[in-house]
């Protein structure tokens, strides 16, 4: 009994160490991808290179209840995913001063559809249909975005971006 108990603790200790090691590697991998992007974005933004770049996106984002500045966190999440995009999604949401409603819209849309290339590829490699996976996820994200946008517009008429 005591031996069994000890071995269980030993297992937990050993596996926790393995998990910690793997987790730290994952964090380092994420940081290696995300940190350069964050620095690049900050420098580009400070130099005004992005100024006015998102004007065209405004009419697409409006039905979703989002302002033009929401395009960066949204695109970061869609392409990089929630985990790898987290740095950009969270930092740009703060930096661009997105309100709670826009943050919730972004979070809900990204919850439905993020990392579209990586996530789809994992199952496509096994033989799943690319369109069959992509279409419902994108449709869901747009649907919930439009519904929330409509709801925000109803509950707060005249709200700007």
């Amino acid at each position: 009994m005591g031996g069994e108990h000890l071995s269980w603790i030993e297992w937990l200790g050993a596996q926790s160490l393995v998990a910690l090691g793997k987790g730290l590697v994952l964090c380092a991998e994420i940081a290696a991808v995300v940190l350069p992007l964050m620095i690049l974005y900050e420098v580009i933004e400070a130099r005004g290179i992005l100024k006015g770049s998102w004007k065209g996106a405004e009419r697409w984002l409006k039905p979703l209840g989002l302002g033009p500045r929401a395009i960066i966190p949204l695109m970061a999440g869609v392409w990089l995913g929630l985990l790898y995009g987290a740095g950009i999604v969270v930092a740009t949401s703060e930096r661009e001063g997105l309100d709670k409603r826009q943050r919730l819209s972004i979070a809900l849309m990204l919850a439905m559809c993020h990392a579209i290339v990586e996530d789809t590829a994992i199952f496509a490699v096994l033989g799943a249909s690319v369109i069959g996976i992509l279409l419902p996820r994108v449709a869901l994200a747009v649907m919930v975005g439009v519904m929330l946008g409509w709801w925000w517009a109803r509950t707060a008429p005249g709200r700007g971006s």
């Binding site: 994952l26 987290a86 930092a91 979070a107 439905m112 096994l126 996976i133």
Partner: protein
């Protein structure tokens, strides 16, 4: 003396905060996911879900892949699914289900950072429900 932070300095500050978030928000959930997966608890939980897999046109063994995807990550799910010899339709259904609802513990930490604890909990629950419904709808569409 100019005290305005340079873009580089402000980027570094954000990077520091992000690193802290990775260590405090992501790492513990990753460790928990790993322990759930390697201890067999996830498989045990999945064995109870086997009977429900028919709803999505999946065999009972697919529950292990679904649980691995939701509790750990898509790579773990794919590793389990690969061994099951599923058809392209079944893989597509699983891809949609898990596409919406995967890596729930770790990604929940990101949602907490973005919208706060209460809303993140609601969002994570929504992901599970919507993922299940979307998977079911796709299984109906694909016949």
């Amino acid at each position: 003396m100019n005290t305005t932070p340079t873009p580089f300095k402000s980027a570094l500050a954000r990077c520091g905060r992000f690193l802290l978030f990775l260590l405090r928000g992501v790492l513990p959930w990753y460790v928990a996911s790993h322990l759930l997966l390697t201890s067999g608890w996830l498989a045990k939980a999945a064995s109870h879900l086997g009977g429900f897999m028919d709803i999505w046109g999946l065999p009972p063994e697919a529950a292990a892949a679904v649980a691995a995807g939701m509790g750990a990550n898509l790579y773990a799910a794919a590793a389990v699914a690969a061994a099951l010899g599923l058809s392209w339709k079944q893989l597509t259904v699983m891809g949609v289900m898990l596409g919406v609802a995967h890596s729930l513990p770790v990604e929940h930490a990101v949602l907490v950072e973005l919208v706060g604890k209460a809303r993140a909990a609601a969002l994570t629950t929504t992901r599970i429900v919507v993922g299940a419904i979307a998977g079911w709808a796709v299984s109906i569409c694909l016949g």
